[in-house]
């Protein structure tokens, strides 16, 4: 790679020699160490897997609404297939969509640009992390085609269902599933180290702690949370694979093990994980609302410190997922208190965002619509979590569709709404062109309305007693009422409409990459450093002699006494 001559006229041999030379397709697209290209690789892989996960949800929702009927594009859904569909839908959406898009894609793309750096500090490690991630995705997809099919023991992989082939009926699929998850963890550990080191060390001259854009902080804190929480589960995954393959009994109480140990190992990670995906989305929203309200973030330090607090507290709440698993009731009391407590800092962040919007000069562009959509839907998700965090009410609601609606009102805003917000906002920078605003708005409205129409009914069916992970609710007379059946069908039809509407986005996205109206450097008139680079930025982001320095915070909008309503970070005065 370093055998090509150095660029003439720069003399800075730290700058990668590729800049002015024609790279082969392989070098440029498949073997690149450029953070922007790696970000695109993560983005496109994540989006492709979102289509897979979304398709799975279509199939199993059709089964729920019209049990036993042939599902168009699939056929008859067998119980084993059903289990496999719901398991892989969950795992794909969390591990292979939310994480790669929100953390790896946006993190890789934005962190060097927003910090005024020419790349991540370890570009080759970056490339390796993507390759391991891709391998994990391939292993997961392979699990669908082996004998027995894909794993069907829920994304939570509880033993003994997950450890014994006689129960899960997928001897190969279950091991491939756990292996895929383990590989994905390894990829994100590597990526996380890159992000944290780059953010700590490679900031532009003059960029102090409180000058760092919130989305960068959030992605870094998320990476730290991930690194601190995934360890026990990685150990647990090794133990589970051994139980599955060589007959150890780590989780078998008949032979010296304990299945509850797995649950603790899993959820000790599982709960911080939801904040790992939440924080980047919240960071994206911060960038958008400040830009499109032309207003400073209401309380930067408060948001930052509540993010830290959320991160730390997130390690103290995990067993609220295990209230009815037979855990020590005294521990259940402890975890109820901590869980209810953690709603406070998160609510605080959302209040700060609302205060930021208040009195702002608001433009309802597509990114802003998505950001507002995030705030409103995530609020509902957060509030409904309170019922589940209190162990008493959770005894009734656990494993019902109430839980499912709660976490879709949190995960969907995070993974889908947050992603659309970020993509529509940074699209001009990434691709040098604009997306079509009209199509963007149509896509937004259909998506947000249908999203609510899918999951609001599910709160009702859950409260009425619909259990999760049941192949056919009509086998339960109390649940086989016209009212509940109607709600299930309604939700499913809303899902079908929502999925079809995503084609509007796909068309808009792909068309605009090639034929969109050309974008200048700073179409939104924002302050942060990425908007000073070309759209799209070249390899190295800026000329080495033009790397920006920073003179102020990232949200100096509408400063009194200035003629412009924004004050970029890199401008000396």
């Amino acid at each position: 790679m370093a055998t090509q001559p150095v660029e003439i006229g720069h003399g800075h041999e730290a700058h990668d020699a590729h800049g002015h030379h024609e790279q082969s397709f392989f070098q440029k697209y498949l073997w690149s160490t450029d953070h922007k290209m790696i970000a695109m690789q993560y983005l496109f892989t994540g989006m492709a897997l979102a289509l897979v996960g979304g398709f799975f949800s279509y199939v199993f929702r059709m089964q729920m609404a019209f049990p036993g009927a042939d599902v168009p594009l699939w056929g008859y859904v067998t119980p084993t297939q059903y289990n496999s569909l719901i398991t892989n839908h969950g795992a794909i959406m969390i591990f292979w969509v939310a994480m790669p898009v929100l953390i790896a894609a946006f993190g890789n793309y934005l962190i060097p640009l927003m910090l005024g750096a020419d790349d991540m500090v370890f570009p080759k490690l970056n490339r390796l992390s993507y390759q391991i991630f891709l391998l994990s995705a391939i292993v997961l997809l392979a699990s669908f085609f082996v004998e027995g099919g894909g794993f069907g023991g829920a994304w939570t992989m509880y033993p003994p269902l997950a450890s014994k082939a006689e129960y899960n009926l997928t001897p190969l699929g279950s091991t491939l599933f756990v292996a895929a998850v383990g590989l994905e963890f390894a990829a994100f550990l590597m990526g996380g180290i890159n992000f944290v080191t780059t953010a700590m060390n490679s900031r532009a001259p003059g960029m102090k702690m409180y000058d760092i854009p919130m989305v960068v902080w959030m992605i870094v804190i998320a990476s730290i949370l991930f690194m601190a929480s995934v360890g026990p589960l990685l150990a647990g995954a090794i133990m589970l694979i051994f139980d599955q393959t060589i007959g150890t009994a780590f989780f078998d109480p008949n032979r010296g093990g304990d299945p509850i140990l797995w649950q603790h190992l899993f959820w000790f990670f599982g709960h911080p994980e939801v904040y790992v995906v939440l924080l980047p989305a919240i960071g994206i929203v911060a960038e958008i609302i400040t830009t499109f309200a032309r207003k400073k973030l209401f309380a930067y330090k408060t948001v930052l410190y509540t993010a830290f607090a959320t991160g730390v507290l997130s390690f103290t709440v995990w067993a609220h997922h295990q209230f009815v698993a037979g855990i020590d009731p005294r521990m259940a009391n402890v975890f109820t208190v901590t869980t209810l407590l953690i709603s406070v800092p998160i609510a605080e962040m959302l209040f700060v965002y609302i205060a930021t919007l208040f009195g702002g000069s608001i433009t309802l562009s597509t990114p802003m619509l998505w950001a507002l959509g995030f705030i409103s839907t995530f609020l509902i998700g957060g509030v409904t979590g309170i019922f589940l965090g209190a162990s008493g009410s959770d005894i009734y609601l656990h494993d019902t569709y109430f839980v499912l609606a709660h976490f879709h009102y949190t995960f969907y805003p995070i993974a889908i709404i947050g992603t659309f917000a970020g993509l529509t906002y940074w699209f001009p920078k990434m691709f040098g062109r604009h997306m079509n605003e009209t199509l963007g708005k149509i896509h937004f409205w259909i998506t947000i309305v249908t999203f609510n129409l899918i999951f609001l009914p599910l709160f009702l069916t859950g409260a009425a007693g619909d259990h999760r992970r049941i192949f056919n609710h009509q086998n339960f007379p109390d649940l086989n009422t016209p009212y509940l059946n109607f709600l299930r069908e309604f939700a499913t039809i809303a899902l079908v409409v929502m999925l079809i509407a995503q084609f509007i986005f796909i068309y808009n996205f792909l068309y605009s990459i090639f034929r969109g109206e050309k974008a200048e450097k700073n179409p939104w008139k924002a302050n942060t450093l990425e908007w000073t680079a070309d759209s799209p930025p070249p390899h190295g982001n800026w000329k080495p002699s033009e790397l920006p320095s920073v003179y102020r915070g990232p949200y100096e909008y509408s400063t009194p006494g200035r003629s412009d309503d924004y004050w970029p970070q890199h401008v000396p005065n």
Binding site: D119, R203, G256
Partner: protein, 191 residues
């Protein structure tokens, strides 16, 4: 030598990027081993029958391996000292000695496991042995990975290049040593 981004040369956090990264690696490894060993300790404290199996591990071999790793850590830090003084060839020699220690550790472990398996203590014999082989095995994997990286670093250091890497692999190696410092009493001392 490959081109590095300008980003790598900055150090706003007060530490060179390589060293910072290795500390983050160590931090994430603490929780991996912590989860595994924490689970082991729970089993061990909960019932004596479990703990009793630890009497069948060979304290002598464990102690010898502890000695080997402590000594290899000494060589690693002496290598760091040589690297800081700019003496690449000496740093490389120290790293070779460290790697040698790692290999001795691995060989002794292989011998030890062979002995235990032939006595009937396999990974599925009981939960104690499952933890024993898994924890010591995970550790041994880290030892072997460390040896490989160390040899690569030594090759470059010999020519007085990339000397900062000597300290970095040394840091990782000390961490591997610390994990064993805890594994030894946990797995070998039974009373």
């Amino acid at each position: 030598m490959s081109a590095r981004p300008i980003a790598t040369t900055r150090s706003m956090a007060g530490m060179p990027t390589g060293r910072l990264a290795v500390w983050w690696v160590i931090a994430s490894e603490i929780v991996i081993f912590g989860g595994l060993l924490g689970s082991y300790v729970m089993h061990r404290l909960a019932h004596d029958a479990f703990a009793e199996q630890a009497a069948h591990t060979s304290t002598a071999i464990g102690a010898f391996n502890t000695f080997v790793l402590l000594t290899s850590s000494l060589f690693a830090v002496l290598g760091h000292k040589a690297a800081e003084e700019g003496d690449g060839p000496r740093a490389a020699r120290m790293l070779y000695l460290t790697a040698g220690g790692g290999l001795i550790f691995a060989c002794v472990k292989a011998f030890e496991w062979t002995m235990e398996i032939s006595k009937g203590y396999t990974i599925t014999s009981s939960t104690f042995w499952s933890f024993y082989y898994t924890a010591a095995g995970l550790h041994a994997l880290h030892v072997i990975a460390g040896v490989i990286i160390m040899l690569i670093v030594a090759q470059t250091a010999k020519r007085n290049l990339e000397l900062h890497r000597v300290e970095l692999i040394g840091l990782y190696w000390h961490f591997v040593d610390v994990v064993w410092i805890f594994l030894f009493p946990l797995l070998y001392i039974a009373k």
